[in-house]
Symmetry: C2
Subunit: 191 residues, 2 copies
Amino acid sequence: MPGPQRDAERTQRRILEAAARAIATKGVGVSLDAIARSAGVSKGGLMHHFPSRDELLTALMGDLLAQFDEAVTAALDPADDAPGRLTRAYVRAVFADLENGERAREQITVMGMIGSDPGVTALVRDDDARWHQRILADGLDPLRAEVITKAADGATGSLLWSRQDPRELDALRDTLLALTRDPGALVEPAR
Amino acid sequence: MPGPQRDAERTQRRILEAAARAIATKGVGVSLDAIARSAGVSKGGLMHHFPSRDELLTALMGDLLAQFDEAVTAALDPADDAPGRLTRAYVRAVFADLENGERAREQITVMGMIGSDPGVTALVRDDDARWHQRILADGLDPLRAEVITKAADGATGSLLWSRQDPRELDALRDTLLALTRDPGALVEPAR
């Protein structure tokens, strides 16, 4: 990659990280000026990379969602080719985040804060639909997969409210992983 | 209740509802002036009831948490005295919220937005710990109860991103309710 393009990417990354930090500490209404200052660029420099507030927030959400994707990919076990492989990686990635402390807390806070921004909602909805399809294709009964992934999602609340005992989180993670080992229905179909 | 006290409670309720609406639409940084205006009171009138921004946000979170408590109580089945009774009411209350559309979406958005406010976090953490204890006392295996309630919590994300097919939400709710009917371990203990 040529030097100028690499420089541009570095600047964009610095702006996105400054934006996440600023939003997490000062709220979603933080000014672009404050974000630019904290990234060490001029406001004009920020607007060169992200021409509007909406584009900055959308790029930030895209970046956070991409980081989660990468974390799931990294958590895939190459030796595991049984049904539920992706669901296991999803659970591992969420709980690894939960153990990551401040950085993950900042990411989840920011996703919650900007996720209801109209420009960002469509992006999140598409990402959610894409994950839903990926998990459905993972070879588990759909409702089993849904319970497991939703329980992992719900556990992220613990990170924000920081009540949960780490041993309890480990036990929950291990239970969810064990639940992925049986591909069948989690409960008998209703009569 | 004497008239003046009832009037004060009405005014407080109007302010809290205006605050929720303003925060959901304009962000957590919305001014107290704007909230007062939208509640039809002067800023002095707002400050008489809620002397600081922190006190207003804490009262708002307390009100939202109390509304959830009331929803769970209302969802208790008087004829049900089997283990898991409270967990079933919790699941029913969360999914009733999910079907409630705009109002529930506003409440969940606001809880997410103000939950990381330092003054509010302690309140949420205490409420979370209290729910944890109540669910643990509900007669189900603790990890079973944890998976069920966390999956219900995780499903609230669907409301915000609004992807989920209502029939899929019904199926998830029914699966979680069915899971409360067996008090034992959800998975075999690890060897």
